[in-house]
């Protein structure tokens, strides 16, 4: 490789590892998201021209933060020619200049502050998602729009409004105090979970798995786990690792869905499963765990079984009982019903699902009808199974799921 190539690669690496950290710190120093983003770009532009001749500084991160801050002060001074109110801000920034050493220790805190600010519960959930992906993960507005099948201007507007609310309603750039932490952490975990879910099972469109988004969510969960080692954070990371470990086995070569019972378990990522299991055990041992840790425990029981039959179903049902006690939800009841069917037989499972439908829960949820169809199929009641598959097919939104249901239906109709 020639010198310029090596330089390019190094700069690319620095951009990837440092840009989000630098941005988080610039937001704290400048107190403004837009100004900080501009300053970040300016700092990298200067690096691109200066570093090839002057060499890469010993501490690129500190160099980028301080260059970004000087660029922002310049920018404010230029604006002050038209609007004097910017002069005060520029003055304040100039006078608050600190040494690089003073700066270094708080940079990791800044990333945590950025996560909590982007996931503030007073922002709409869609805005939390978009802002986190944009500011913390560095995805472009176009990438976020395509991931969530939204129009780019809609996503751009969500981000602009969220930033305006952070400024106007004065959402502080801080990690909440200990007593506020549990409920604030909930929104952060929820956002990471939503990002993962969109990657694990895209809500619509033709691709079942969006690995880029799952990987982004795992990266965020890992970061949060390092910065804030709370049991439930560890539980969430474990859950994501264990779900993602099955990735290679969940979809066939031609992109079709493969259910748990048909998956080739040899394709499961054993290293990721081990890490997930260790983290679940740690989270559960803390006795301060929450619903993500329990879901991770369920995923761990699945991951440790070599076949569907050899799965410890009584333990899974027990974990669902605990999960329901903590966060009652019809979807969890449905999953528990499927586990009960595995433990006690399809009839017992059907009774529970029919009870759910009777109280008008999950009536329009395709997986509820798909589960019901599968239990009838296992009982050999083909007529009921066909009717339930048809209902599930009407409600399913996603290509691979629709094709899976249609093929099951076709099998039953050809018999």
């Amino acid at each position: 490789m020639s010198m310029p190539d090596i330089f390019q690669v190094r700069l690319q690496e620095i951009y990837q590892t440092e840009s989000r950290r630098v941005l988080a710190t610039l937001i704290r120093l400048l107190g403004n998201f837009d100004l900080a983003e501009e300053a970040l770009h300016d700092a990298f532009a200067v690096a691109l021209t200066q570093w090839p001749t002057e060499g890469i500084p010993d501490n690129p991160r500190a160099w980028l933060v301080s260059t970004g801050r000087f660029k922002a002060i310049d920018q404010l001074r230029r604006k002050a020619r038209f609007d004097v109110s910017y002069e005060d801000v520029a003055e304040r920034l100039q006078s608050e200049l600190t040494t690089e050493q003073e700066e270094a220790h708080s940079i990791e805190d800044d990333r945590l502050r950025l996560i909590f600010t982007c996931c503030h519960p007073s922002l709409a959930p869609e805005a939390q998602l978009a802002l986190t992906l944009r500011e913390v993960c560095g995805l472009t507005t176009e990438e976020i729009a395509s991931a969530f099948l939204a129009a780019t201007p809609t996503v751009a507007q969500r981000i602009v409004r969220a930033k305006a609310k952070i400024r106007d309603a004065r959402i502080p750039y801080e990690v909440p105090e200990a007593q506020q932490l549990p409920e604030r952490l909930d929104s952060v975990l929820h956002v990471i979970y939503l990002i993962f879910n969109e990657g694990y099972s895209a809500s619509a469109g033709d691709k079942l798995i969006r690995h880029d988004l799952s990987a982004e969510a795992i990266r965020l969960a890992r970061l949060l786990c390092q910065l804030l080692p709370e049991p439930e954070v560890e539980g969430l990371l474990a859950l994501l690792l264990l779900q993602d470990a099955r990735r290679a086995a969940r979809v066939s070569a031609d992109g079709e869905l493969i259910l748990l019972e048909q998956q080739d378990r040899a394709l499961w990522d054993q290293q990721q499963i081990r890490e997930g299991c260790n983290r679940v055990l740690r989270a559960l041992a803390s006795r301060r765990f929450g619903p993500y840790s329990l879901q991770a425990a369920i995923a761990a029981v699945h991951a440790e079984a070599d076949t569907m039959e050899n799965t410890d179903w009584p333990q899974i049902v027990g974990l669902y009982d605990a999960l329901l006690a903590m966060t009652p939800s019809p979807v969890i009841e449905l999953n528990r019903a499927v586990a009960v069917a595995m433990r006690d037989g399809p009839e017992q499972g059907l009774q529970l699902i029919d009870a759910l439908l009777a109280r008008d829960a999950l009536t329009d949820y395709h997986l509820c009808h798909a589960a019901r169809a599968d239990l009838y199929r296992r009982l050999g009641q083909k007529e009921e199974a066909r009717a339930a598959y048809r209902r599930a097919l009407e409600l399913a939104q996603q290509g691979p799921e629709q094709r899976f249901l249609a093929s099951r239906l076709a099998e039953l109709e050809s018999d």
């Binding site: 503030h120 519960p121 007073s122 922002l123 709409a124 959930p125 805005a127 409004r161 305006a164 609310k165 106007d168 309603a169 004065r170 959402i171 502080p172 801080e174 909440p176 506020q180 409920e183």
Partner: protein
């Protein structure tokens, strides 16, 4: 006897005003407050930032639930008001969570806006 006068308007219509029209209206409001103060009728009052800055706080099972936006539960009626001083939204939320009816209904938290001679924020074409 004290009376609370609540101001309602269609934000969308108001945002169509030019900055000039909007500033003129705000100047009228400043004058109105001065007149009411001089005559001894004014106790306290303030304009608010637009509804997109609103946050709604509820307390259920001793947990503070925070959501985006103004509360829109038409079954609930205005029952009173608190003017709070807080350093930022997190402090305002913590204070709002201590208002007892937050356990039964909802408390909307919205920043107060400053009435200025000109350059009034968000409401004229600036918003």
């Amino acid at each position: 006897m004290k009376y609370l006068a609540l101001v309602y308007y269609d934000e969308k219509l108001m945002q169509q005003k030019s900055q000039q029209e909007w500033d003129a209206l705000n100047q009228e409001c400043i004058a109105c407050v001065e007149n009411l103060s001089t005559s001894g009728h004014f106790i306290t009052g303030s304009p608010l930032m637009p509804t997109n800055t609103a946050t709604t706080v509820r307390v259920r099972d001793n947990r503070v639930a925070v959501t985006d936006g103004p509360f829109a539960e038409t079954k609930e009626q205005l029952a009173g008001f608190y003017m709070l001083e807080a350093k930022d939204l997190n402090e305002a939320i913590a204070l709002a969570g201590k208002i007892p009816p937050a356990r039964y209904g909802s408390v909307e938290v919205r920043p107060v806006r400053e009435l200025m001679e000109e350059g009034n924020q968000a409401g004229g074409n600036a918003g």
